[in-house]
Subunit: 380 residues, 2 copies
Amino acid sequence: MSKRKLKVKYKIDPGLRGINVGTTEICPVGEEEIHLSYRGYLIEDLAMACTYEEVSHLLIHGELPNKYQLSEWSSQLSENRFFPKNLQRILDTLPKNTHPMSVLRTAISTLGTIEPEQGLEGKMQALRILGILPSIIGYWEKRRGSYDKEVPLGSSEDTIAGYLLHMINGEAPSTIDTQTMDTSLILYAEHEYAASTYAARVCASTLADYYSCITTAIGTLSGPLNGGANEAAIKLLLSFDNSDTAESKVRHMLRDKELVMGFGHAVYADHDPRSLIVKERARKLSNEKKEFSELFKIAEAVERVMREHNLFPNLDFYTATVYHILGINSHLFTPIFVVSRSSGWAAHVLEQRQNNKLIRPTAEYIGPKERVLPSLSERK
Amino acid sequence: MSKRKLKVKYKIDPGLRGINVGTTEICPVGEEEIHLSYRGYLIEDLAMACTYEEVSHLLIHGELPNKYQLSEWSSQLSENRFFPKNLQRILDTLPKNTHPMSVLRTAISTLGTIEPEQGLEGKMQALRILGILPSIIGYWEKRRGSYDKEVPLGSSEDTIAGYLLHMINGEAPSTIDTQTMDTSLILYAEHEYAASTYAARVCASTLADYYSCITTAIGTLSGPLNGGANEAAIKLLLSFDNSDTAESKVRHMLRDKELVMGFGHAVYADHDPRSLIVKERARKLSNEKKEFSELFKIAEAVERVMREHNLFPNLDFYTATVYHILGINSHLFTPIFVVSRSSGWAAHVLEQRQNNKLIRPTAEYIGPKERVLPSLSERK
């Protein structure tokens, strides 16, 4: 081996913004003249014609399921709602006021000790995690006292969206609620090298087990800069009495250079293709449930003002409205994101493993030059 | 906001090898004409003149402690050996055959629910985790049945190195054993943007809490390409009867293009400055404990053959020998790495937070072009 010069001497943006650090066959984001799609299917088509079960199969197994495969996949997902007793015991030991994202991180890490991955297959673990996540979320909602009824573990709801809503609220959801949640799960399922996904790929690149990768992803998504935007958006929307005051208050916020959450995107330049889809779901839902029609008007008013400043709503903005109308408390917004994105994470971990190279960058050193080590008594 | 063109159209190595993806003031690695140091102090000086307590203070607080600070820091570290009863109960619930890295990942994630970080201070959590890690490792060793004596939780050993050895073996260690472990902890404490550290920085960049960052780092380190090299190295060394057969067998391995673990490095071009230090510790230890003198000769023989092929031993190679002589089972090599590196991780998470930008790269899309979505009945 000859001496290599290992450091490339150009600097790149530490946020890696706009820099292709790898290739992917899963999802193009922000590429010129390529629309957002999952494995080639446009996001609009998937949201209109498919269920999240089909989309998760597409992401994890690489293709949309046929009729037989879909029925098989759906029943596997239902079987994997199973919530082991020792995991329940561990959750019962955690302090009741623990944030559900820390609960999820701990629960998935624990699941990896109870049902460890054998070899590096991953697909079985992806299925398992997708199946069990709503069980964990609902079990925790019940434990923290969100409802009195018995927790409907493994309920008869036959979709992930329906089961998730049932577990969260303790009540069987209506058809329109389930459909709306289903769309939301599709829209959040995958988004290329988002921070949580990239962290999972760095983890996978060491050939760590599947649970380490997903624990990493959940921990990373728990950060407010990655997963917290919709939580912040609903807080803002609910602070306005009506659309008129919303409009003037947002103008004031912009004048004072306050951050209005739910607008703009690290990768999209001028619009988020998912926003239009979820906005229409929000409109439909607020037409059905009249008590929320003012909330939708408020959201539209905020969007109007922001657009005057060339700022566009991202997926999180109208999703916040939708979740609120569905009766979901904002502390659950990011956990629902986990359910949805777990299929995208799976696709990326599997892709990373398939053609792996350890991700080991370097840093430009800007610290102190060589220093003489003072003895203990010499130190100030 | 005008339309931005967000994607830079050059490709970089997906392993990010040799690419500076950020700056750091903590540790230069592989830079031309800059020797390995922690915050400007040469690794050789630190290994010779300091304890791991001083080095962890240097990494976490930015400067070497003076006499007063060192005594304060040491007693804080001892106090933080405290192992909460509910965390013990949770560990008692995990299957006995769980790998200790999965135990550590789960334990630190759980600790984050019991003692959550308030705000984003981090330094208190860094201290807490550094203090408690040997307690967790030893408690688990006892639980998996590695020794019969009572687990010496919070023993009177006054250094991390001594306490760690006491907890692992159930017996108070000798002075030379403690000193050797101390050196090893110093050598592994920090190494710039290693995969586990970079994953922790990606996690920190979303402003996730400290426990999420360290859970991420532990999960990433658990991968055999990041943390597993010394485990593999000792397996190899123990497979040889003596130095003569070692030499000829390694020649055969090289001829058959088999991987010999513990040699070469992703960032160093021609030598690992830490290897010489730990080799001398291995030599000293094997002189003291004659029953291991052949093992040291075997290691030297392997090194000799590898050097003929211009391959140099990295830190892991002689560390494996040292740990074996200290009576440590190889499943604990990576958990010990966690104890050591936890101070480096702390330094990097704090540095990332201090001048944060969300790490959100992009990927080159090489997947299928736009496809027409087939209806369920049309799918093959």
